[in-house]
């Protein structure tokens, strides 16, 4: 059950995710090719506002995009409607945001002062 608002939110987040995914893959290949260790990777990400914004915006886009997609499946396949549908969609969004945000924080600023 998509309205224009949800449709646009899903398309715009897809637009954000596409270059970030390519960037992530490129960095992964670079890191593997160069033989960077975990410590070396963390040394580059810790305290970096750029990496925080890069992965932070990806997590934000994924949370919105996936929640809207799952919302459609919940409605069309399982018949979930109304408050329950909104509640489950927002919960999934919050879950993905929480888990993803925690991971991004961990590799950027969590241990920066240590």
């Amino acid at each position: 059950m998509l309205t224009l608002r949800l449709y646009m939110a899903q398309r715009l987040t897809a637009l954000i995710m596409a270059p970030l995914t390519i960037g992530h893959l490129a960095v992964m290949i670079y890191a593997v090719q160069g033989g960077l260790s975990v410590a070396e990777i963390l040394a580059r990400t810790q305290g970096s506002l750029a990496w925080f914004l890069f992965y932070g915006s990806f997590v934000l886009a994924v949370s919105v995009h996936a929640a809207i997609g799952i919302r459609v499946i919940l409605y069309e396949w399982l018949g979930v409607k109304g408050v329950m549908l909104a509640g489950l969609s927002w919960s999934l969004c919050a879950l993905l945001l929480g888990l993803g945000g925690r991971a991004v924080w961990a590799v950027t600023f969590a241990g920066a002062g240590a």
């Binding site: 059950m1 998509l2 309205t3 224009l4 949800l6 449709y7 646009m8 398309r11 459609v72 409605y75 069309e76 396949w77």
Partner: protein, 242 residues
């Protein structure tokens, strides 16, 4: 033809007051026989209480559509030889619409959605104005022309899995009509139309599975029309305040 090939094994859905089942009939096979011929033979020779709907018999009125071996077809123009499987035909009422009796469905929900999609011409001029010049080569007119041969048969509506999963979805036919009107330079109701097709059951629910295009007897492609509506509504988001 062998002896068994001279008769078709026909299962026809019988339903009254919500209680339905398939009933078997042996129908003589003829050359160039259509599905509507088969249904008419059963009604005239076996059971006059069989209810079904038809009018023109030449593929213009859009009233005789039914499910034939699981697929929606315009029965007056569907030849038995093209759809019979091992001499068997299963004929049922159109999917996604409530049954009135036997093979006749209630078309109200289908046409209610045409109104909900604002798929109604809103004139911008009166009969006293000069006739509006329309260039057939104009891109908008070309887009409209590609969508206007709909006969309202509801085959696309019955074929659509999104309608089956989401009863509020306006469906391919209504949205296709909205698209043809959106490209009509004489129409004055475009802002309301974009709002109507952007609501909860609107064009954005289409998954582009293209069953509508596959089964449309007039070979229209409502999926293309719905994609056009998606683009038009998305553009309207960025033109706020203009």
């Amino acid at each position: 033809m062998s002896g068994s090939d001279q008769f078709l094994d026909v299962s026809i859905w019988r339903e009254q007051d919500g209680d339905g089942h398939f009933q078997q009939f042996a129908v003589p096979r003829r050359d160039n026989q259509t599905i509507l011929d088969v249904v008419a033979w059963v009604q005239q020779q076996c059971d006059p209480t069989l209810s079904y709907r038809f009018a023109c018999r030449v593929g213009m009125c859009g009233s005789c559509a039914m499910m034939v071996n699981g697929a929606p077809r315009w029965t007056c123009r569907t030849h038995v030889q093209k759809v019979a499987e091992d001499n068997h035909l299963q004929i049922a009422p159109l999917r996604n619409l409530p049954v009135i009796k036997d093979l006749a469905v209630d078309m109200d929900p289908f046409f209610d959605k045409w109104v909900a999609a604002d798929a109604v011409f809103e004139p911008s001029q009166t009969r006293h104005d000069p006739m509006a010049p329309i260039d057939p080569q104009d891109p908008m007119r070309v887009a409209a022309s590609e969508a206007i041969e709909c006969i309202n048969c509801a085959v696309c509506y019955a074929a659509c899995d999104v309608v089956a999963a989401n009863p509020d979805y306006l469906g391919p036919a209504a949205l296709n009509r909205s698209w043809s009107l959106l490209n009509d330079s004489r129409d004055a109701g475009q802002a309301e139309r974009l709002k109507a097709v952007s609501a909860e059951g609107g064009c954005h629910n289409c998954h582009a599975q293209q069953s509508c295009a596959r089964y449309c007897p007039n070979e229209l492609n409502p999926t293309v029309s719905i994609s056009g509506l998606k683009r038009a509504t998305a553009k309207s988001v960025f033109s706020w305040g203009k």
